[in-house]
C-alpha cells in the first residue's frame, strides 16, 4: 500500500503543475498586471508611474512565462509564473496583493469554515442515511412514496430559499438564534446552529434519494434473501448487511469531499457572516488578487487529490477484498 501511496503522490505533482499553469493562463487571459494594479490602487488619480511602481513592488513587472532578456536558467525563473508558483509546492503561499500573509489568512479562516461544514457533513450523513434506510424499509408503501415526493420537493427548492426562509423563521420570527455572525470558542455554538440546520435540510432531498437508490439495489441481492431466510429481522438485515455492503458507493461520494470541507461554502458563509474560506477565493477573483487565487486553487487541488487517495484507502477498510497495489 505504501508503494501505491507514493505512486499516487508522485502522480499528484504533474497534476498540480498543470492546474497551476491553467490557473495562471486563465487569470492572465482576463487580467493584465495593469488591470490588477488599477484594481488595487483605485480608480481616482492613478498615474502610470504609480501603476509601474505597484507592478515592480509585487513582481508583476517581469515577463509572464519566459524571460527572453535573461540568461541561463533566469529565462525560466525570472518570470511571474515561476516566482509566484514554486514556493507553493512547499506550502509557502506568500502575501496577497494587498500585503497580507496568505497562509495566516487560510489558517484563520479554516476554523470557522470547519465549524459549519463538519457538523453539517456528519449530522447530514447520519440523517440522510437514516432517512434513506427508513424509505427502503417501507419501500413501495405510502411512506416511501411520500418520502420520495418530499425529497423531490426539497431538491427543487433553491439553497438560497432555505437560507433566507430559515433566517426569517428561526431568527426573525422565533428569535431562537442570531441571524448572522460568529464568535470563537463555545460562543460559536449559537451562531452555527442555524447554518447547520439549514445545510442539513437543504441536502436531504438529493442525498437521501441517492442513498435510497443504493440501498434498494443492495436489498434485491441474494445475500439479503439469505439473511431473511435465516429469520433475521428487517432492521437487522438493513443495518448489519445492506448498510455494510452499500459502503463502497457511499464512501466514493463521501470521503472525497471530506478534505474539501476545509474550503467552506460561499453562500452559507456570506449570508451567515461566517469568516471562513468560502468567500476568500471569490473575493480574490473580484479583487483580481492573483496571489490568493493561485494559492486557493492550489490548495483546493491538493485537498481534492488527498480526498481521492483517502477514498482509495477507505475501500480497503470497508471491503477486505480490495487491496491497493
Amino acid at each position: 500500500m505504501i508503494a501505491y501511496l507514493i505512486r499516487r503522490i508522485a502522480y499528484a505533482i504533474p497534476i498540480l503543475i498543470g492546474v497551476n499553469l491553467l490557473t495562471f493562463a486563465l487569470f492572465f487571459v482576463v487580467n493584465t498586471p495593469d488591470d490588477m494594479a488599477r484594481m488595487q490602487l483605485g480608480i481616482k488619480r492613478v498615474t502610470p508611474e504609480a501603476i509601474a511602481r505597484w507592478e515592480q513592488q509585487h513582481g508583476y513587472d517581469k515577463p509572464r512565462l519566459f524571460n527572453s532578456a535573461a540568461n541561463g536558467a533566469d529565462k525560466i525563473t525570472d518570470t511571474i509564473f515561476w516566482q509566484k508558483s514554486v514556493s507553493m509546492f512547499v506550502l509557502d503561499f506568500g502575501y496577497s496583493d494587498d500585503g497580507r500573509n496568505i497562509s495566516r489568512e487560510i489558517a484563520t479562516r479554516m476554523g470557522p469554515s470547519l465549524a459549519i461544514a463538519l457538523p453539517t457533513f456528519l449530522i447530514g450523513l447520519l440523517i440522510y442515511v437514516s432517512f434513506a434506510l427508513v424509505m427502503t424499509l417501507f419501500r413501495a408503501s405510502a411512506l416511501d412514496t411520500a418520502g420520495v415526493a418530499l425529497c423531490v420537493v426539497l431538491m427543487s427548492i433553491s439553497g438560497l430559499f432555505y437560507i433566507i426562509g430559515g433566517q426569517f423563521l428561526i431568527s426573525r420570527l422565533w428569535h431562537l438564534v442570531p441571524i448572522s455572525g460568529y464568535a470563537g470558542g463555545m460562543d460559536s455554538i449559537k451562531f452555527v446552529v442555524l447554518p447547520v440546520i439549514i445545510g442539513v435540510i437543504g441536502g436531504i432531498g438529493a442525498s437521501s434519494r441517492w442513498y435510497r437508490t443504493i440501498f434498494l439495489e443492495e436489498i434485491g441481492k441474494d445475500y439479503v434473501r439469505t439473511a431473511r431466510a435465516k429469520g433475521l429481522s428487517e432492521l437487522r438485515v438493513l443495518f448489519s448487511h445492506v448498510l455494510k455492503n452499500a459502503m463502497i458507493p457511499i464512501l466514493t461520494g463521501v470521503v472525497v469531499v471530506i478534505p474539501l470541507l476545509f474550503m467552506g461554502s460561499l453562500l452559507t458563509e456570506s449570508f451567515f457572516g461566517i469568516p471562513g474560506l468560502g468567500s476568500y477565493t471569490i473575493d480574490a477573483i473580484n479583487a483580481q488578487d492573483f496571489s490568493v487565487v493561485r494559492a486557493m486553487v492550489f490548495l483546493g487541488s491538493l485537498l481534492y487529490i488527498a480526498g481521492l487517495i483517502l477514498t482509495d484507502i477507505s475501500y480497503t477498510v470497508v471491503d477486505p477484498r480490495v487491496r491497493l497495489s
Binding site: 438564534v177 448572522s180 463555545m186
Partner: protein, 766 residues
C-alpha cells in the same frame, strides 16, 4: 452517550449565557456605551498614506487626527481645526520668496506657505511601539522571533505606551507621501504642489536601491517643502496658489505618523504576522483599532489619551430644537467602543437592525417600501411600523454625481473634428480590433458615414467628412431631453436622488437653486419648478442634427448609438431596457455593449467608446472638484486625467483655470455660471442624478446629523444603552412553541414508525 448529551446541553446553555437567544453580542456588552454598526467590504489599506476609499476612511478618519476637519453641523461644509489649534495661516510669496499681500493676483503668487500650529499636549493611542523600559528606551525595538511567538496583534504585547504628538510627526507623514515602498494614491497630485516632493521621491528611490533591505529613515532626507518650526508648528510650502489644499489637510493623508511606529513594524517577523502599519494603525484620534478581524468584525475603542476635543457648541438654526446640541461642550468621543460587523448581505443586516442589534442602517431597495412612505407631495418619512419602533429617518444629498458621458472624440456624438491632432492616437490592441467606435447597424453599415467607407478604429482615424460638431451637439441635446432621469430615479432608486442640472450637486458652492440653476437646454421653468422639455423638442433637435425621425439623411440608415457599460445580467436588464426605451422615444437605436470592468476601463482610457456610465464622488466640497472632470487638460486620452468624456472647450478650460484658485465669492460664482452655460449648451454628459443618502436610526441613537463630507462622525454619536437593552428585550423574546411542536412531531413520527415496524415484524413471523 449520556455524558455527551450532558456536555452538549451544557455547551448550549453556556452559549446562551443568560441573555436573549438571538443576541449576536456577548452578555458582557449589555448596558455599555457601545455603538453597533456594520461594514460591507473589508478595507484594503489602513495606512493613511495609502488608503483612499470610503470603506477605509470609515475607520481611518476616526483613528487619525489630521490638522483640520469639517464642522459637524454647519452647512455649506466648513473647515474647522481638529489637531490644529487654529486655522492655518497662509502666506503668499513671489518667486524670490518675498511675501505678498493676500490680495495679490494669482499669477504673481509663486508659493503659498501654510503655517500650521497644532494643539499642545495631544497624545497617541496606547501602543507597544511607545512602550519604554525603566531607562526610557523603547522596549520593543529589537524583537527576536522568540519574543514574537504568540503575538498576533499589538494588544498581545504585555506593555504599551504613548507619547505627545509633535509637529515632526506631521512632517514625517508628508514625507511618506513619496515613500517608494508604498502605494501612494495622491502622490501624483501632491507632487505637483508640494515643493520638492517629486525630487524627494527620486532621492528615496535611489536610497532604497542602494540599501534595499534597510529601514528607510526619512529623517535622513530633508524635504524642502515641509519644515518643522518647533514642536507644535510646521510649515508646508506649495507651488502657486491652491486654496483647495486646505481640504486635503482634513484627510488622513496629512495625519501625524510617529517614527516609532514605522520602526516597530519594520522589524523582522512582523509582516509574516500581518503586523504592519497598513493593518494596525497608530493614531492620535478619538478611537484606536483594538480588534482587527476584517473577515468578521473590527472594533474601535476609545483612545484613553484623547482629551483635546469637545462637542460643538454651535450649529445651524434648528439644530438646538432637534436636540443636536444637548451634549454641547462634552468631551469627545461620546461612546466607549464602536463594533463594526461584516455584513455582506443586505437581508441579515436589515433584520438585525429591526431587532435592535444595529443602531443605524441604510435602506436597500428590497426594504424600501417596508421602511419609507412617500406622501402625495413627494415628502418621505418612515413607515408606521418603523415609527412605532421609534426609528427615524435622515436624508442628505451626496456630494456625488452619476452621469452618462459622450465621448468627445467620437465622430457621431463628439465635439471636435480636429481633435486627432491634439489627442494622441490610441494604441491598437487585439481586443479593440473587433470593435469599431463607429456605430454600426445590423447589416454592417455605419450610421453617420458614407456608405462603403471603411470603418476606421479609434478617434484619430475617423473621416472628417462625417464629423460635424454642430450636428453632434444637437444630437447630444436631443438625447439629453429624451433620457428622463426623473423617471430613472423614481423607478430604480426609489426616488433617492435628484436629477442633475450640471456636475455640481446641491450644497457645493456654485450650485444655484430655482430657475437660475436649471439646465435651459433640457428644462423649462413652469409653475415654480423645472419641467423637462417635450419630446417634440428633442425630435426637432434630432432633425436639425441631420437625423430626422432617427434616420441619417445622408445615408438613410437608422442612427445607432453604442453605450459601453459594465452592467450586465438579469439585475441590470431592466435598467438597460429602460434606457433603450428612452432612445426609442426619438427613434434612435441604442446598442448596449456590456463588458467586464477591465475592458471597460481600457476603453475609457483609449477613448474607444461612444457613451458610457460613470460617477464621481467628491474629495472635497469645492466646485473645482467637479468642474475639473470636464477640463480639457484632464482628458483621459492624452492627459491620463479624470475627464472620461475627453471634453475639450477652450473657453471652458480658460474659465476653469481662472476659477480654480479663487476663493468663494460673487466673482467666482459668475465664472461658474458661465462655465455651466457652456456645459449646458455643449451637453458633453447626460447630467444624470445626484444620489440621496437615506439613513434610519433607532431612537436610542443621538446626535446624528447627515454630513457626507465628514468621515469622523462617530465621536459625536451617543447611545442610550439602557433604552436599547429594554427595546431589544421587548422585540426579541424567544418563541418556544415552534420548537416544542417540531419536537412533538419528530417524536410522534418516531413512535409511529416503531409501531409500524413492530406490526410488520409480527406479521412476518405469523
Amino acid at each position: 452517550m449520556k455524558r455527551l448529551v450532558a456536555y452538549l446541553l451544557f455547551a448550549l446553555l453556556a452559549a446562551c449565557d443568560g441573555q436573549l437567544w438571538n443576541n449576536p453580542y456577548p452578555a458582557s456588552d449589555a448596558g455599555r456605551s457601545i455603538l453597533y454598526t456594520a461594514f460591507t467590504e473589508r478595507p484594503k489599506h489602513l495606512d493613511p498614506a495609502q488608503a483612499y476609499s470610503e470603506n477605509e476612511y470609515e475607520f481611518l478618519a476616526n483613528i487619525y487626527a489630521p490638522p483640520l476637519q469639517y464642522h459637524y453641523f454647519k452647512r455649506p461644509y466648513q473647515l474647522v481645526p481638529l489637531a490644529a489649534s487654529e486655522m492655518p495661516v497662509v502666506i503668499y510669496q513671489d518667486r524670490l520668496h518675498h511675501p505678498l499681500p493676500d490680495t495679490a493676483p494669482t499669477d504673481k503668487i509663486a508659493y503659498s506657505v501654510y503655517e500650521i500650529h497644532i494643539k499642545p499636549g495631544m497624545r497617541y493611542q496606547p501602543h507597544p511601539a511607545f512602550a519604554t523600559d525603566g531607562q526610557g528606551k523603547p522596549e520593543y525595538d529589537h524583537l527576536t522571533p522568540d519574543e514574537l511567538r504568540g503575538i498576533h496583534a499589538p494588544g498581545d504585547f504585555p506593555h504599551s505606551g504613548t507619547r505627545i504628538v509633535k509637529s515632526a510627526d506631521y512632517v514625517n507623514q508628508i514625507k511618506r507621501l513619496a515613500h517608494p515602498q508604498l502605494h501612494l494614491p495622491i502622490y501624483g497630485v501632491m507632487s505637483e504642489y508640494i515643493v520638492g516632493l517629486k525630487d524627494y521621491a527620486a532621492t528615496l528611490q535611489q536610497a532604497l536601491q542602494k540599501h534595499p533591505d534597510d529601514f528607510l529613515d526619512l529623517d535622513a532626507y530633508p524635504l524642502p517643502g515641509v519644515q518643522v518650526v518647533n514642536d507644535t508648528t510646521y510649515r508646508i510650502t506649495i507651488k502657486g496658489k491652491y486654496p483647495q489644499f486646505a481640504y486635503w489637510l482634513a484627510m488622513p493623508f496629512f495625519a501625524p505618523m510617529p517614527r516609532e511606529a514605522e520602526r516597530f513594524y519594520a522589524q523582522a517577523g512582523m509582516k509574516q504576522r500581518n503586523l504592519t502599519l497598513d493593518w494596525w494603525p497608530v493614531g492620535s484620534g478619538p478611537f484606536y483599532l483594538s480588534e482587527n478581524d476584517p473577515n468578521r468584525r473590527m472594533v474601535l475603542s476609545k483612545n484613553p489619551y484623547y482629551d483635546s476635543e469637545r462637542y460643538p457648541v454651535t450649529g445651524e438654526p434648528g439644530d438646538v430644537q432637534a436636540g443636536l446640541l444637548a451634549d454641547a461642550g462634552l468631551s469627545l468621543p461620546l461612546t466607549d467602543k464602536v463594533v463594526f460587523t461584516l455584513e455582506k448581505e443586505t437581508i441579515p443586516y436589515w433584520n438585525k437592525f429591526l431587532q435592535g442589534y444595529y443602531d443605524a442602517s441604510g435602506i436597500s431597495s428590497d426594504s424600501f417600501d417596508q421602511a419609507v412612505q412617500v406622501s402625495v407631495g413627494g415628502e418621505t418619512s418612515v413607515s408606521q411600523d418603523m415609527r412605532e419602533k421609534g426609528i427615524t429617518l435622515s436624508t442628505s444629498v451626496a456630494t456625488s454625481t452619476m452621469y452618462t458621458g459622450f465621448n468627445w472624440l467620437d465622430p457621431v456624438v463628439g465635439g471636435v473634428c480636429e481633435n486627432s491632432k491634439s489627442a494622441p492616437s490610441p494604441q491598437p490592441s487585439d481586443e479593440t480590433s473587433n470593435h469599431s467606435t463607429k456605430p454600426s447597424t445590423n447589416d454592417g453599415k455605419v450610421a453617420g458615414y458614407p456608405e462603403g467607407e471603411s470603418v476606421a478604429r479609434g478617434p484619430s482615424k475617423r473621416s472628417d467628412s462625417s464629423c460635424n460638431p454642430e450636428r453632434a451637439r444637437k444630437l447630444r441635446q436631443a438625447i439629453s431631453i429624451a433620457v428622463d432621469f426623473e423617471e430613472f430615479v423614481s423607478i430604480f432608486a426609489n426616488g433617492r436622488g435628484i436629477a442633475a442640472q450640471s456636475p455640481i450637486p446641491p450644497g457645493i458652492f456654485g450650485y444655484r437653486e430655482g430657475r437660475a440653476g436649471i439646465n435651459p437646454v433640457v428644462y423649462d421653468w413652469v409653475d415654480g419648478q423645472p419641467r423637462r422639455k417635450p419630446i417634440s423638442q428633442a425630435k426637432r433637435l434630432l432633425a436639425e442634427a441631420g437625423y430626422p425621425d432617427g434616420v441619417d439623411e445622408k445615408t438613410h440608415q437608422p442612427l445607432v448609438i453604442n453605450l459601453d457599460t459594465t452592467a450586465s445580467g438579469v439585475g441590470n436588464k431592466s435598467r438597460l431596457d429602460w434606457l433603450r426605451k428612452q432612445f426609442d422615444k426619438i427613434n434612435v437605436q441604442l446598442v448596449v455593449r456590456s463588458t467586464d470592468y477591465n475592458r471597460f476601463q481600457d476603453k475609457i482610457r483609449r477613448g474607444d467608446t461612444q457613451m458610457f456610465y460613470y460617477g464621481w464622488n467628491a474629495d472635497y466640497p469645492d466646485p473645482e472638484n467637479f468642474l475639473f472632470l470636464l477640463n480639457g487638460a484632464q482628458a483621459k486620452v492624452g492627459g491620463d486625467g479624470e475627464n472620461a468624456a475627453n471634453y475639450n472647450n477652450p473657453e471652458y478650460n480658460r474659465l476653469f483655470e481662472e476659477m480654480k484658485n479663487m476663493e468663494n465669492s460673487p466673482e467666482r460664482q459668475l465664472i461658474i455660471d458661465r462655465m455651466l452655460e457652456i456645459l449646458h449648451e455643449d451637453s458633453p454628459w447626460l447630467w444624470g442624478y445626484h444620489p440621496k443618502n437615506y439613513v434610519l436610526q433607532h431612537g436610542w441613537l443621538h446626535n446624528v446629523k447627515p454630513n457626507v463630507m465628514a468621515n469622523n462622525k462617530l465621536k459625536y454619536w451617543r447611545v442610550d444603552a439602557r433604552q436599547r437593552d429594554l427595546f431589544r428585550a421587548r422585540w426579541n423574546q424567544p418563541q418556544l412553541l415552534p420548537l416544542w411542536l417540531v419536537t412533538i412531531a419528530l417524536l410522534s413520527f418516531g413512535l409511529w414508525m416503531w409501531r409500524a415496524l413492530r406490526l410488520r415484524e409480527e406479521a412476518r413471523s405469523l
